[in-house]
Symmetry: C2
Subunit: 243 residues, 2 copies
């Protein structure tokens, strides 16, 4: 059966790709993706046919992959991080309804929450919530509700898409909601360019985070009530009766 693999290539491709993802990219005829991600794998898999679409052309990109598979090719659609976390896996299944002859398989990857956590230390050790601050496809009221609920129940919170040119004050607003339930000195961390050139990280308090400007290449971590800074690392204990 013709097949499209939706492959998470990890935060920066390369070393953080799984052996399975590498195997599948190696065996495929065609690699489809957003231009920036295709550039990350082009050198390593130079014998492939590459098909790209610019940002925000996701449906077109899925159809392109499915059409290509229909002609008998093995196709990999690549996504940054994990294909199943704010990635293309869902849209591929939705678009795939029109292509019953094409099988779809998801190949997991390291998402920014895991990759960024490893850079900061161990912030996600206990229950956590992942929330995107992008209101492109989600009403802001829904995002606000989730931020408050997660803060109220003392989750560690990981924020994706914390900022963009049009949404420069979203992180500040998110911090204000969380400050209704979390302490001002809650330990937080930010990581920029996870797994790529120019990777940087910083540990700061929730109060400081509120007035920090971040960009769209940044992932934000907000600790729970027990999260601490330990020798420059952000560390969440495993539980309350911690040894």
């Amino acid at each position: 059966m013709n097949k499209v693999y939706v492959v998470g290539i990890g935060p920066g491709a390369g070393k953080q790709m799984t052996a399975e993802a590498q195997e599948i990219l190696a065996l495929c005829d065609t690699i489809v993706g957003y231009t920036v991600y295709v550039d990350l794998v082009k050198e390593q898999f130079s014998d492939k046919l590459f098909l790209t679409t610019p940002m925000k052309r996701e449906v077109e990109r899925c159809r392109m992959a499915l059409e290509e598979a229909k002609t008998g090719k093995d196709v990999a659609m690549i996504c940054s991080g994990d294909a199943g976390v704010y990635g293309m896996a869902g849209l591929m299944y939705e678009t795939g309804v029109d292509f019953p002859e094409v099988e779809i398989e998801i190949v997991p990857g390291i998402t920014a929450a895991m990759g960024g956590a490893a850079v900061l230390g161990a912030p996600l050790i206990h229950d956590f919530a992942v929330i995107s601050l992008s209101d492109l496809l989600t009403p802001w009221e829904k995002i606000e509700k989730r931020l408050k609920a997660a803060a109220m129940a003392d989750f560690v919170i990981c924020l994706y898409n914390p900022s963009s040119r049009k949404r420069h004050d979203y992180l500040k607003r998110a911090c204000e909601y969380m400050l209704e339930y979390k302490r001002e000195d809650t330990v937080c961390g930010i990581v920029r360019n996870i797994g790529r050139e120019g990777e940087t990280s910083e540990i700061l308090t929730l109060k400081e985070l509120k007035d920090t400007q971040v960009d769209m290449f940044t992932t934000v971590f907000v600790g729970n009530d027990e999260t601490k800074e330990l020798n420059g690392r952000m560390v969440t204990p495993r539980g309350y009766r911690n040894v």
Copy 2:
């Protein structure tokens, strides 16, 4: 400087390990871990010294790794899934305070939430919460609060440690809490033995999940209000104004 790497080997080791994790296991002198995980990598890295401790001896395991690094060895402590999600990364930093001469580095891996999601389809595409039902280190009231908050704010919810011999009714109780806010026909999924021999999965409603008996090798996914079943896959759309 002497170094301990805390390495997530993915849900079933092998193909879901990253290239970075494989590189580090290859270069280390000693691999430390819980017996079951060590058995997963023993064959591939047969020239290493292996040190193991049984379950629930986590502090001892960390000290063992740090002591070994102190003697000048490069040491990898391996964890199933991701070292930073209910893994040993946090405890290693906490134990490492007594070993200032040993550097600690975390190497991320595919956690069960990502690995299981890929098996089911695309359940985690939008905001999600990860909650462990184990009350070994967390009071049940805290777990209850988190389940209700996550359900109330319409997160997709991924449950780790949904059951054990002593906690056979925990998943049922968790479903009852979530049913206060989520519909009975909310699309859910369970995956057993992710990435290992005997991997199985099932899609069912939240009402059915409530009366389903699962074991400790199972990861549970509870959809949000928009999650649907599509050709036998569990799929969450990207947002409310979905295309």
